[in-house]
């Protein structure tokens, strides 16, 4: 009997792709679907998924929960929980299109919610922490329910299947976003569980990730000290939590987050290319946040409320190319996929290991 | 010139240098054969033993080399800085024993000849055998 995510740790190879338009111009979801379709062989049909930012302009101030239910019973329990903690502005099934390659779909629901002010106050937490705790609680405690997207004006769409099929299934051609990321999965020992597909999301953080990190358990056992619960036992999950911890909770800018999770080697720190002050900081990071260093191969695209960050592990053990065309920045596992989105880019390059590409919306 | 030096702080007085030296210069292929049958080959290095201090003494290959200057037979000579003894020419007069300020010339009682350290340049050791044998690096072969 194969174990699903959360019951065992499943290493996976993958493809990722993504882009952002700095000026906030929204692009149709079909573009990102095409970009992953051309990397078909990097996936094996056991998972694909998307994150789109700026797709819910009409509900941009509400948290948009995307939820998988194994059963109606789970839905009822979850909705009761949501009702207790949130003011639900809108709820519906997420529209899908019947697709021959996408089968065994769970119940897929969407809720646009605001935290209940009284409950929020009671919790003595800031709003985002409150929401995150609630999401973690549903995922941890309610059997058969899984919140796979919980940010504002953004959404995750994922399923078991090839990513291009998943795109069609979710009718992404009906969404427009200023940033999209996508993931095609090649897991090695999973029966395929919808919740286990990527991107992984918490609030508006989403991660698509290609790689298999060797630091997993060191990271997991550390981050779990801070209220996170790594249910899925996947890299993306722990990376998302780490970024959430550093960026949201400690207030560390993403540039510094990259310096923690893909810290420069000591040989670089000592090479003299950094200012003494920077060296001091890097030494401090490597001392204090040493358990959040991520080793082993990874290339990730992090999506967040006003931008994306692409990052390779410090040895660059996974492929990742970046390109620029006008005010749009593309990142992908392979150049070919960028060319499907923009055949004649202005500039294309291979970012160095550990050097983040951070692109945010122009103000 | 590289010479053999002894650091008395580390000399244990174990006498391994003497036995190794004797064997190395005995012509026998190994130590067991060198001493087999009660043979007592002569060492060119000698341990001085005290209550707290021990050290080995062997030819310093000194610049003055009074042994060479006083040698009546011409057996002693300096070759590339190393004082060597042509044992065939030595008549055992011991003038060198009289002259050597370190007492480093050894008398081979049996043959009425002298033996002396030649830094293992005339045997098959390559590097001085005493240095290799010293268990505590008290004997070193180096430039000073």
């Amino acid at each position: 009997m194969l174990k699903k995510e959360g019951e065992t740790r499943i290493p996976a190879g993958c493809a990722i792709s993504g882009f952002i338009n700095r000026s906030g111009r929204r692009t149709n979801g079909s573009v990102i679907v095409n970009s992953i379709a051309c990397m078909h062989d990097r996936s094996n049909g056991l998972g694909g998924g998307y994150a789109g930012y700026g797709i819910y302009p009409e509900y941009k101030d509400q948290y948009a929960f995307h939820v998988f239910y194994d059963s109606n019973e789970a839905r009822i329990k979850t909705e009761a929980f949501i009702d207790r903690h949130f003011d639900v502005i809108n709820l519906s099934r997420i529209p899908t299109r019947k697709h021959p390659n996408i089968t065994d779909e769970p119940l897929i629901w969407r809720y646009f919610v605001n935290p209940l002010p009284t409950k929020l106050q009671e919790s003595q937490l800031d709003e985002r922490t409150y929401v995150a705790r609630c999401v973690i609680k549903i995922n941890d405690k309610i059997d058969g329910a899984y919140v796979f997207s919980s940010g504002k004006n953004m959404g995750v769409f994922k399923a078991v299947g090839y990513p291009e099929d998943v795109g069609e299934f979710y009718r992404l051609d009906e969404y427009d976003g200023w940033a999209w990321t996508v993931h095609g999965r090649y897991p090695t020992n999973t029966p395929g569980w919808w919740g286990g597909a990527h991107p992984f999301a918490l609030l508006d953080y989403t991660i698509v990730h290609n790689g298999e990190i060797s630091s997993y358990d060191a990271n997991r056992r550390f981050i779990e000290m801070f209220g996170y619960k790594c249910n899925l036992l996947t890299d993306t999950e722990v990376i998302t939590y780490i970024i959430d911890y550093l960026n949201r909770r400690l207030g560390m800018p993403l540039e510094d987050v990259a310096k923690v999770i893909a810290a420069p080697f000591w040989s670089e720190i000592d090479s003299g290319r950094f200012s003494p002050e920077e060296v001091e900081k890097l030494r401090h990071f490597r001392n204090v946040y040493s358990s959040l260093l991520i080793t082993g191969p990874f290339s990730i695209i992090l999506g967040f409320n006003n931008g994306i960050m692409a990052l390779n592990d410090r040895l660059k053990l996974r492929s990742m190319v970046a390109a620029e065309k006008g005010d749009t920045v593309y990142v992908s596992s392979e150049e070919c996929s960028i060319r499907t989105m923009s055949p004649d880019v202005d500039r294309i390059w291979s970012p160095r290991g550990g050097e983040p590409i951070i692109v945010t919306l122009d103000k | 010139m590289k010479k053999v030096y002894v650091n008395e702080d580390w000399c244990l007085g174990c006498h391994l240098c003497e036995f190794t030296c004797a064997a190395a210069n005995s012509g026998a292929p190994d130590m067991i054969k060198a001493f087999a049958g009660g043979k007592k080959p002569v060492a060119r290095i000698q341990i001085e033993e005290g209550s707290a201090v021990n050290f080995a003494v062997q030819c310093r290959h000194c610049e003055l080399h009074p042994c060479v200057k006083g040698c009546i037979s011409g057996a002693l000579s300096v070759k590339d800085g190393v004082i060597v003894c042509d044992e065939e020419r030595c008549v055992g007069c011991y003038t060198c024993v009289l002259s050597c300020p370190y007492g480093a010339i050894v008398i081979d009682g049996a043959g009425h000849k002298i033996r002396k350290c030649d830094l293992c340049t005339q045997n098959s050791q390559g590097e001085p055998a005493c240095v290799k044998a010293c268990p505590n690096n008290a004997i070193v072969f180096e430039e000073r």
């Binding site: - | 042994c67 006083g70 009546i72 024993v97 009289l98 007492g103 008398i107 009425h112």
Partner: protein
């Protein structure tokens, strides 16, 4: 530079090697009366014993002169030094010019006038290769040999002739043997040792009159012999320098650079007077090491590098019939004596210094004592018990040991 050396033994070789340490090219000429490649005079007794071959009697290798660029004139006798023209006149009338001259003429056997000497059938001295060759040609097993003189040369002759099972009698005016190097007690031990090997001593008397095959002694005894060896002493060959007006006392007088009182004329070896640092007196130190080192010092000075010869002391390493003696320095002072069978040790202290010693039997590492005399090491700086026990570096302090053995100078 044109160097001329009269003589061809240790002092001459020392001179050549001393010159060549400094001057690799100057012309060197050696004038020698003896017609041999340089040989070691002390080895003649070993040669006679058969312990040294014809090949090994030579003091330096056969290519010694060639390697050192030395022109040899063997079988030539120098008869005069002409200081005015800076040349040496040979017996055949030829003159050899020099820029720097070394007189290393050594010594000759002293043969005192004795009654009836001219009647002796076979009479030899014991100083040269030729002399032992002559003895060798005559000696046979059982030959009766009378040796006049119980000094170093006489006893070395006795030891050598013992190899031929000769019947040896040694006669000396003195009442003990080896008086120049041994004290009474050590002499007596050595005498007994030599006697135990068959050599007879008649001491405290001298020859009254020789006949062809016997000698009548002043004490009334008669000694028959087939051969007589005269070994009563040596006299330095000083005539050349004396005749040229150089200062000569018991031997040639030199300064610390081994220069004689004559300009550009140096001298070294047994023909010179040395300063004995142990007794602070001038004397002839007829010793091979001394000759060589004087020669070497002279050679360096002749070649222009000023070098001084100091710290000479009397010292001897010799053995008879397997019993070895090493002695050095002077015996005037407070004594420490140890005796055990044939092993005899005497240490002489004066003015807080070790001044001299006699070691007989166990002579191991005697050079440590020698260096103490030469270097005038204050006895306060050594462990006296260890000093008395045996020669050892342990008796010095750690600092001195490190300096001596470790090459570490503080």
């Amino acid at each position: 530079m044109n160097y001329v050396i009269i003589g061809n033994a240790a002092a001459a070789v020392g001179t050549i090697e001393g010159i060549r340490e400094v001057d690799k090219t100057g012309k060197i000429t050696v004038i020698s009366e003896e017609n041999y490649h340089t040989y070691s005079r002390p080895l003649i007794s070993y040669w006679l014993m058969g312990k040294v071959t014809d090949k090994n009697i030579y003091y330096r290798s056969p290519d010694f002169y060639e390697k050192n660029g030395v022109e040899t004139m063997f079988g030539c006798r120098a008869v005069k030094i002409d200081t005015a023209s800076k040349s040496v006149v040979l017996s055949d009338g030829n003159t050899i010019p020099y820029d720097k001259l070394m007189v290393a003429t050594g010594s000759k056997p002293f043969v005192p006038p004795m009654n009836g000497m001219e009647k002796i059938a076979s009479c030899h001295t014991f100083m040269s290769y030729d002399s032992v060759k002559a003895i060798r040609s005559e000696i046979t097993e059982g030959s009766k040999v009378l040796i006049i003189g119980a000094g170093l040369i006489g006893l070395k002759a006795a030891e050598a002739l013992n190899e031929y099972k000769a019947d040896i009698t040694v006669v000396d005016m003195a009442d003990r043997i080896l008086p120049s190097i041994l004290d009474v007690r050590a002499g007596s031990i050595m005498q007994k040792h030599i006697e135990s090997k068959g050599t007879k001593f008649i001491l405290g008397t001298s020859v009254d009159e020789f006949s062809e095959h016997s000698a009548k002694l002043k004490n009334g005894a008669t000694v028959d012999f087939d051969m007589v060896i005269i070994a009563v002493g040596v006299r330095p060959n000083t005539e050349l320098v004396a005749d040229a007006g150089g200062k000569v006392e018991r031997g040639i007088i030199c300064d610390l650079t081994q220069k004689t009182s004559l300009d550009d004329v140096y001298a070294a070896g047994d023909c010179t007077v040395s300063h004995d640092a142990s007794s602070d007196t001038d004397k002839i130190l007829a010793l091979l090491p001394n000759a060589y080192m004087q020669g070497e010092v002279a050679g360096r000075n002749m070649a222009g590098v000023e070098t001084r010869y100091v710290n000479a002391i009397p010292m001897n390493a010799i053995g008879f019939f397997g019993l070895h003696i090493i002695t050095a320095g002077s015996y005037d002072g407070e004594e420490y004596v140890e005796e055990n069978g044939n092993n005899y040790k005497k240490l002489v202290f004066k003015d807080g210094l070790l001044k001299g010693y006699i070691l007989m039997g166990d002579v191991k590492r005697a050079g440590i004592y020698t260096s103490m005399i030469k270097e005038r090491i204050d006895l306060k700086d050594v462990d006296m018990e260890m000093l008395k026990d045996r020669p050892q570096m342990m008796m010095f302090g750690k600092a001195r040991r490190e300096e001596k053995l470790g090459g570490i100078f503080r």
